[in-house]
């Protein structure tokens, strides 16, 4: 069969529409075609992946878009249909013209008023022309969903012709073809052959060329049901409601058909239209001809892998970038290494020379200058920033001020960051204060011009929970039931749902229901079976045309669909759902950037590219990661609070216990955290105490355990600590030998004396990538940059054997013994691929140290910063306990003393406490908050009502939380009134609903007369004062905090009766003691484990501290559904001592504290226990109070907070350590 080129293929990157990945499409197309066109919906979301796949598959890429057409309707612009627009290649026009026009066309389609996406016919007609030559750069395909084809419905004659004429008149000559598609639906329906015939007749009648396509949505016929499910998800409606309507595909014939199958379709159209061979050949030839016109050359048309940076005049350069970079780094050298002389200076100069040569050889000079420009701009904004990642390995970055880590002192290798052996662009990541991130982005746009800058996007894909929800929606299942199922899905991909059903204890109940439904389904089986084979048709109910499931006796009820639910969930696995702004990527280019990527508005308003991080390197796009880090905001906030309370150098030094002449404090009391010496003893003492809650990177249970054992004494220890705390080192059991050697329990072991210099700092254990590089370098004599290439090949099945062969040959030739070679290779093979880059560790260690320093010297201000910016892995309520432990008073909410922030406040007793913020009150709107703040202080309840104009519910909440107590007690002092808070709440509740009465507002500028609060002074004292349990419940409901007492407080009698141990008591117990512990879940982690067995780590908080528990397979089996769903837990287990200050509990069994019937013992659970359910009066979702859940590592990486290692990354890996060196398995 002749070859056929599909011009219209929507990939999986057409969210909620396309089913197959570009590479699947290309594989199918390459069988009998030599090109493939992608046309994703409203964007180029899959285009770069498509080009990559085409290049790999040896066929030509064609790029287009499936774009909405807008028409003016009753309610403004409305979608009137869709057309495909293809970019022309460089045969008739200068290369890149067609692709550039397509990018701009798509961007303009996303710039319509009212968030409409699409173009009007006029805009389309204007956009297809190349502005410089006036020739068409794009071809529009008027297909089966176009406004013209839509007019064919109802067999109208004139309307389609009128519309066609309008299109032909508007579109420039040679820019439009008719797209003939038949999905062989019911004759006369849309997508039927009859419709295709009519379109072809119109094309003939008006002399417009016609091409053949299949409007492809999936690669294979078997993928058709998945498209149905996506149709349901897109329309947010069950399949049965969609059926026969526009939203559902007409048939399942939209796969990437072979040339032979396409020929059958073409022949049917030609035959039914009464045409013959000439017309058939013409249709086929037109298609091939358009394909030829649109073939793209990745390099010439797209600028494949050709980096573009802002032009030198934008950077303000008066000399070539190479010379500028040399000059600036020279200046940096004199500044950073002012005291260096002789050999040492020579070594630094030599390093600089190597780096500069490499950089200019790769022509990346302007990239470094661009990053330096951004970094300096952020500094000048007064925003904290820090370089992160392997960029810290570069001396150039250090000298330009991009990075604060000295790569010479920390022994970091440039080759790990950049080398001539690597063609990919380097990544330099900048951390900034999270609260300032958007401002920084805006300034970057201003500085470089919006034509050179855009944000990067990211694809959000179906994971198990989202997939099961949408599959359930498609099947029309009960939403509550689907929710309950979704909540049980924990950390596996949707694609392995069925496998998970067999294995995971928490899915046991669900699995049983699936089996049950299968048995129930047996009654349907006789007639279900003919569904696809027609073997039995007793009542003739299957076959075509039965669509309304509603009244059908075969309609499934209740659980009967569960088996199908599992299958559909698996089908949705990892399909893209939507794009959103990447948490940190900013793309910087030259003035032609918007000819190379389409952009669309992001959530924050700034434009974002339709390309994601996987597309950057291929498109030669320079991506700068500017990541918002909450800890940086928290630290900046803490420093500001320190100055606010202590506005002089002397006061700050006295408060923080610093030397009076400490150089890092300026005259105003401002602390320069980056200037704080890295050898502060109280800071390391704090870290060793393991009271590191709130400290960057080292607050998770596992990290607290590790720092306790490792007892860091200097900055380099922190780098090692952070680097050890990764899945790789944990899984390879590197931690134990390291700790033993460090403690002197075991002799340090080196495979060969040559390796001592490289491995000394980690006692012979290979921890860092840098050590892997040095090992290769020392033992084989290869260059460090070559060594980095070898390192990258480790763990890759196709590449590793060659590395091993090279390693063995070279080392043997250099005289190493076989046993040494075997041992070293074993180490390289095991850790090389996932060890940690020391530069990363060093960059992370800086904020770790700084946060610990603040906690050691200015704890109240630091905690206030944590409270305000919430950077950590734990819920805020855990900080209450930490404040209690530190003796820092938590000052209650007060209508006059509280602000919209968590502020440090001097107490009358002379200590510093933390005043709760009004912003934390549930349901208080931003406007109400502003009004309260604007009119503070208030001298009476009436004053508050009049000037803050609060709604009654908010006033009531404030009263319940005690925020009005100060007004009340003042009035009581004057009158001797004895009413309590309950009386106050009752009174507020009885007030009339506030009418918006302008007259009652005081005239602006009028000073309210100080007067007695008659109202509060005369309150009737008739209600009992609220008890502690009620107060705590109110606090949890309205503030998500248990301030007055820990929420476990009310369980105390029950727990005591059971003999439950408190967290603070555990350290005093012997190893292997059987205990009962209880508490509120604060963290759950399921880190990847050696051997593949899942281990679940659950930390609970009982008011005296955290208990870290670990559930192995058997305990998971016993606990089943409790593992992930339950918040208040009672756990039986054995104590496991992990170090001098660390103890964990190996769980044997767990109970839900609320499921009273199941609990051991006969003691009645206190009535107030319900407070922790979080479903109290205000209806706060439990998640507000509960632990911050973290799912998988992958999820962590797509989550900005986790990327920082503030959430799952470190804590998940952290708990790995719990098993990593307590030898539980």
């Amino acid at each position: 069969m002749r070859s056929f080129v599909h011009l219209h293929t929507s990939s999986a990157f057409s969210a909620h529409f396309g089913v197959s990945w570009p590479q699947e499409m290309v594989e199918a197309a390459a069988v009998d075609g030599d090109a493939l066109g992608i046309a994703d919906r409203d964007g180029l979301y899959g285009a770069v992946k498509h080009v990559k796949a085409c290049m790999a598959g040896g066929i030509d890429p064609i790029i287009g878009v499936d774009l909405a057409v807008l028409e003016e309707g009753a309610g403004g612009l409305e979608t009137a249909g869709r057309v495909v627009v293809l970019a022309h290649g460089g045969t008739l026009l200068p290369a890149g013209t067609g692709y550039g026009a397509l990018c701009r066309l798509i961007s303009s389609a996303h710039a319509q008023p009212g968030n409409r996406v699409g173009l009007t016919l006029e805009q389309l007609a204007a956009g297809v022309l190349d502005s410089s030559s006036g020739k068409p750069a794009l071809t529009v395909l008027l297909g089966p969903d176009s406004p013209v084809a839509r007019a064919l419905n109802g067999n109208r004659y004139l309307l389609p012709r009128t519309r066609f004429l309008k299109w032909r008149a508007a579109m420039p000559v040679g820019s439009m073809v008719v797209e003939i598609v038949s999905h062989q639906s019911t004759p006369g329906a849309p997508m039927s052959t009859a419709h295709a015939v009519r379109m072809l007749k119109l094309a003939q009648e008006f002399d417009v060329p016609a091409v053949l396509s299949n409007a492809v949505r999936y690669a294979r016929e078997v993928d058709a049901p998945t498209a149905d499910v996506l149709d349901a998800a897109r329309n947010i409606a069950p399949l049965r409601a969609l059926d026969r309507h526009e939203g559902l595909q007409r048939t399942g014939r939209a796969w990437l058909k072979s040339a032979a199958d396409m020929s059958v379709v073409a022949r049917e159209v030609i035959h039914q239209g009464g045409w013959g061979g000439a017309e058939l050949r013409q249709l086929w030839a037109n298609t091939a001809q358009l394909a030829d016109k649109c073939r793209l050359d990745p390099v010439a048309d797209l600028g494949w892998k050709t980096p573009r940076t802002p032009e030198s005049q934008v950077l303000g350069l008066s000399q070539p970038a190479t010379a500028e970079l040399r000059q600036r780094t020279e200046a940096g050298l004199n500044r950073r290494f002012a005291g260096l002389r002789g050999e040492k200076l020579l070594a630094v100069r030599h390093r600089l020379e190597t780096e500069l040569t490499t950089i200019s050889g790769l022509e990346f000079d302007s990239y470094f200058l661009t990053v330096a420009e951004v970094s300096e701009m952020i500094r000048s904004m007064g925003v904290r920033r820090a370089a992160r990642g392997s960029g810290a390995s570069s001396l150039v970055n250090y000298l330009l001020g991009i990075s604060a880590v000295d790569p010479i002192a920390n022994d970091l290798l440039f080759e790990r960051f950049l080398s001539r052996d690597r063609s990919t662009l380097p990544d330099i990541d900048l951390d900034v204060e999270s609260a300032e991130r958007h401002n920084v982005y805006r300034r970057i746009f201003e500085r470089f011009g919006s034509e050179r800058v855009t944000l990067m996007s990211m694809q959000n894909s179906y994971r198990a929970r989202g997939a099961v929800r949408d599959a359930g929606l498609a099947l029309g299942m009960d939403k509550g039931e689907i929710d309950r199922i979704a909540k049980q899905l924990w950390r596996f991909s949707a694609g392995s749902f069925r496998e998970a059903l067999e294995e995971k204890p928490e899915l046991r109940d669900f699995a049983a229901r699936v089996r049950e439904s299968r048995e129930l389904g047996g009654s349907h089986r006789e007639y279900d079976a003919f569904g696809t084979d027609g073997s039995e048709l007793p009542d003739g109910t299957d076959g075509p045309g039965i669509h309304d499931g509603g009244g059908l006796d075969g309609g499934r009820r209740g659980g009967a669909q569960l088996d199908l639910l599992v299958d559909l969930t698996e089908r949705l696995d990892s399909l893209p759902r939507h794009i959103s702004m990447h948490p940190c990527g900013v793309i910087l280019g030259d003035a032609a950037l918007l000819d190379r990527t389409p952009v669309q508005p992001s959530g924050m308003g700034l434009p974002m590219s339709q390309f994601d991080k996987h597309d950057m390197d291929a498109m030669g796009m320079l991506k700068l990661d500017v990541l918002g880090v909450r800890m940086q905001s928290a630290m900046a906030y803490a420093v500001r609070e320190v100055i606010r309370l202590h506005p002089s150098k002397e006061a700050v030094a006295a408060e923080g216990g610093h030397a009076p002449d400490a150089p890092f404090i300026d005259g105003t009391g401002a602390i320069d955290l980056d200037a704080v010496p890295l050898d502060d003893e109280p800071t390391f003492e704090l870290i060793r105490s393991t009271h590191t809650l709130g400290c960057f990177q080292i607050e998770s249970p596992g990290q607290r355990e590790l720092v306790g054992k490792m007892a860091p004494a200097e900055f380099n220890d922190l780098i090692i600590d952070i680097s050890l705390f990764r899945p790789g080192p944990m899984q390879s059991n590197m931690v134990k030998p390291f700790l033993e050697s460090r403690a002197g329990f075991a002799a340090e072991h080196y495979p060969h004396p040559d390796l001592i210099p490289a491995l000394k700092e980690t006692h012979g254990v290979t921890v860092f990538h840098e050590q892997v590089l040095r090992t290769f370098h020392v033992m084989t004599g290869c260059t460090l940059s070559r060594a980095d290439e070898f390192r990258r090949a480790l763990g890759k099945e196709d590449l590793e054997p060659a590395v091993e062969a090279y390693f063995r040959e070279k080392t043997a030739a250099r005289g190493y013994t076989p046993s040494v070679i075997d041992e070293v290779w074993g180490t390289l093979k095991a850790f090389g691929s996932f060890g940690f880059c020391k530069a990363h560790g060093a960059a992370f260690a800086v904020p770790t140290y700084q946060s610990a320093w603040l906690k050691a010297h200015h704890p109240a201000e630091f905690l206030a910063g944590l409270w305000e910016h919430d950077p950590g892995m734990y819920p805020r309520r855990l900080l209450v306990a930490e404040a209690r432990r530190l003796g820092i008073p938590i000052l209650p909410l007060d209508i006059n003393a509280s602000t919209g922030e968590y502020r440090a406040e001097r107490t009358p007793e002379g200590t510093t406490g933390i005043r709760l913020s009004l912003a934390g009150v549930y349901g208080l709107s931003g406007t109400e908050l502003k009004r309260i703040l604007a009119a503070q202080p208030y001298d009476s309840l009436a004053d508050l009502r009049d000037r803050a104009r609060l709604s009654r519910p908010i006033l009531k909440r404030l009263a319940q939380l005690g925020a009005l107590d100060s007004l009340h007690s003042k009035a009581k002092e004057l009158t001797g009134n004895t009413a309590n808070r309950a009386d106050l709440v009752a009174h507020v509740n009885s007030l009339p609903v506030r009418a918006a009465n302008k007259r009652s507002e005081p005239i602006t500028g009028q000073i309210p007369l100080p007067m007695e609060d008659v109202e509060l002074g005369a309150l009737a004292a008739e209600h009992p004062a609220p008890g502690m349990a009620e107060t705590v419940r109110t606090e949890l409901d309205l503030l998500s905090l248990d301030v007055s007492e820990h929420l476990m407080g009310s369980y105390a009698p029950y727990l005591d009766a059971l003999g439950v141990h408190r967290a603070e008591e555990l350290l005093g117990l012997r190893n292997n003691t059987e205990v009962l512990v209880a508490g509120v879940r604060i963290a759950t982690q399921t880190p990847p484990m050696r051997g593949g067995k899942r281990v679940v780590f659950i930390s609970v908080d009982d008011g005296t501290g955290c208990v870290d528990t670990v559930f192995f397979t058997e305990a998971q089996e016993k606990s089943g559904p409790l593992l992930f769903g339950t918040r208040m837990l009672l756990i039986r287990g054995l104590t496991r001592r992990t170090g001098p200050r660390g103890i964990t509990v190996q769980a044997l069994e767990a109970w839900d504290l609320h499921d009273t019937a199941s609990l051991p013992g006969t003691v009645e659970v206190p009535r107030t226990a319900g407070i922790a359910q979080g479903t109290g009066v205000a209806g706060i979702p439990p998640v507000l109070v509960g632990a911050r859940r973290t799912d998988t590592i992958e999820e962590a990486h797509s989550n900005p907070r986790m990327l920082l290692g503030q959430g799952a990354v470190h804590d998940k890996q952290g708990v790995t350590s719990a098993s990593g060196y307590t030898d539980h398995h």
């Binding site: 067999n155 004759p187 009464g274 279900d528």
Partner: protein
């Protein structure tokens, strides 16, 4: 016109179109170029399983409209459903001989003159011989 649901056997031509049909022991010749289309089926109510990698014939059912003759009686038409992946054939609708309609090449002679006063395409004759999507089975 009658409603049926009976199994039949179909033999293909070299071009992949039904050429002969065996019904009640009689072998009929199928006139060339039988009309073929696909009708949706509500798989979510019918199928118990649809794991990834399966699903041919789940979303739609192949329908053929054939004109049959056995050389004797006048030709008549029927609609036959082809159930995949099992490959079974069932008659779903039989047209009496007097149900005259154009089948093969029905569109050939279509006249493009619009009907006076109405925006109706003359090709709508197509619909005359198309059953409603449910017709032929609902009443069974």
């Amino acid at each position: 016109m009658g409603i049926f649901s009976e199994a039949v056997d179909v033999m293909y031509s070299a071009q992949g179109e039904p050429a002969q049909l065996v019904w009640h022991g009689t072998v009929y010749d199928v006139a060339p170029h039988p009309l073929c289309w696909y009708e949706r089926r509500p798989w979510w109510e019918r199928d118990e399983r649809l794991p990834p990698g399966t699903g041919v014939g789940a979303v739609d059912t192949q329908i053929w409209r054939m004109v049959l003759s056995d050389g004797g009686a006048p030709p008549f038409s029927l609609d036959v459903a082809h159930y995949r992946p099992a490959g079974r054939w069932r008659v779903i609708k039989v047209y009496d001989a007097e149900d005259s309609f154009r089948t093969d090449g029905a569109l050939d002679g279509a006249d493009d003159d619009p009907l006076e006063g109405e925006d109706i395409d003359p090709l709508d004759g197509v619909d005359d011989f198309c059953p409603g999507p449910g017709e032929g089975l609902d009443g069974a």
